[in-house]
Amino acid sequence: MSLYRKTSLQERTVLRRAFSKWDVFEYFKDKLIYVRTNNVGRKQIFFLPSEIMMTDKQPLYAGLLIGELGKQFSPSIQMSQIIAKEGKNFPSIKVNSKGETMVVYGRDVFVDSIIEHNTHRENEMVIILNQRNEAIGIGRTRNKSNHIAIKGKIAVTTIADIGQYLREEDLDV
């Protein structure tokens, strides 16, 4: 049974830190954020416009799913698109058209496909952008940045992408 509720103080702290990291703190400053615990116990974070009201009866879904909250916040694909549009300085890689095709099929990103990157850390979550700066996925850096020049190596593991829902129609959200 899904249940929407307002965020706790502790959850708000984690979210604020995450919004800062992704450079969307200002964008989310006055926004209404709700937490929904889904049927497998995961805490999902939803963004609702401030005018929206919740009735006494709980909806199955409300607003836009922007991510999941564990010890840290993991952005959703929808959130990555907000970040790509609103943020200016956030961890990202930009891929060529071959890389774009690979990502939307859920494949990892090879070094050869990366046109630009602004991350220098291992195991860091990054937004995967196409050549038009549109967010097409979320990944995690695998190699240290000095490996990024080694051709044929996987540089970023794709953890979510815009083709995911289409491939997994029964994806339980």
Partner: protein, 332 residues
């Protein structure tokens, strides 16, 4: 014309077979009872049957919540699609499809929704705006819901209902893909919508129906089509319209639509509502052929001409019916 009654169940109006209905039935593979009814109500029935036998036209609706119309048009042309403007500024007909429309990057990014022009016209007629409370009584898979959210500029409140959890899942995917955030989705039978305790400015009721108008998309619909189905759908539709009226604010608007040609599910359903409620009036729908005001020997409310029918062979859309009902402000 005969109206069949058996074991308390009123079956739809059936007409005597003619040599013409027998011939068309044989040529196009339809049950004769359907053809006899089509001949009674649809102009150029043979052209309709030809249209239903061919692939329906494909339309996309550009999602202005995520992109600009001119930008996406340019992109689609650049990747080899041919597109043509329709009567709605954000809806385009795809005249040449280089790849599958549902697998482009632009689709996955939520820049457009594959949606028939007829469905878009129903939403257009509802005349929604950003500050309103809007209800979509049968939302799955989310085509009209996402268009409503777009028209509301992602503001106001949009309540969307569907009884099936599985279908809600696909609705949720489409809402997310299109970047919709002003919507609350309830798993609920829409006849119980009053339990939410909300009154709405606008209500869209795209009612579950016998789907005669979409046979060109799914020929197997013919195998499951029988006169009793029309009656079953019509009963459900009347219950849904009554539920819609119950939750619409005085002065509010209800758009009722179906994708069937059956008058029992369209004009006759609305006619029975007009007879039962004196605070409901029909407002004219802009596009399409006038709604029926007679069917066989039955005479219906003359204002039903202001409801509209869309036909594949005339309008290039799926078969569709749209009625606009205004809930009058009743002065005491």
């Amino acid at each position: 014309m005969e109206e069949f009654k058996s074991s308390g169940m009123v079956l739809p109006f059936l007409f005597c077979d003619s040599s013409r209905s027998l011939e068309l039935s044989k040529r196009y593979g339809y049950p004769t009872w359907m053809i006899s009814r089509f001949l009674e109500i649809i102009p150029d029935t043979q052209k309709l049957l030809e249209a239903l036998a061919s692939k329906p036209r494909r339309y996309i609706r550009i999602n202005t919540l995520k992109t600009k119309v001119e930008d996406l048009v340019e992109r689609l042309l650049a990747i080899g699609f041919d597109i043509k403007q329709t009567i709605l500024p954000e809806v385009f007909e795809i005249t040449k499809e280089k790849f599958s429309l549902g697998s482009t990057i632009e689709y996955l990014l939520g820049y457009y929704y594959i949606q028939d022009l007829s469905s878009c016209l129903a939403v257009e007629e509802l005349d929604v705006s950003a500050e309103q409370r809007v209800l979509d009584m049968a939302c799955a898979p989310g085509g009209k819901t996402t268009y409503l959210a777009q028209k509301m500029d992602n503001n106001g409140v949009l309540i969307a209902l569907d009884p099936s959890r599985k279908r809600i899942r696909s609705t949720f995917y489409n809402l997310m893909r299109c970047g919709v955030r002003n919507t609350l989705v309830y798993q609920m039978d829409a006849t119980n919508v009053f339990h939410l305790g909300i009154k709405y400015d606008r209500v869209l009721l795209d009612a579950p129906c016998s789907c005669e108008g979409v046979i060109s998309k799914d020929r197997s619909l013919l195998d499951n089509h029988y006169p009793g189905l029309i009656n079953k759908c019509a009963e459900r539709q009347r219950a849904l319209i009554r539920a819609a009226i119950k939750v619409t604010k005085p002065g509010g608007l209800i758009v009722y639509s179906t994708c069937t040609f059956a008058p029992e599910e369209n004009e006759i359903a609305i006619n029975s509502i007009l007879s039962s409620y004196d605070n409901i009036e029909i407002e004219p729908v802009t596009n399409g052929e006038n709604g029926l005001t007679t069917f066989g020997r039955l005479t219906l409310n003359s204002s039903l001409k202001d409801t509209k029918r869309l036909y594949p062979h005339i309008h290039g859309t799926l078969g569709f019916y749209i009625a606009k009902l205004r809930v009058k402000n009743v002065s005491l």
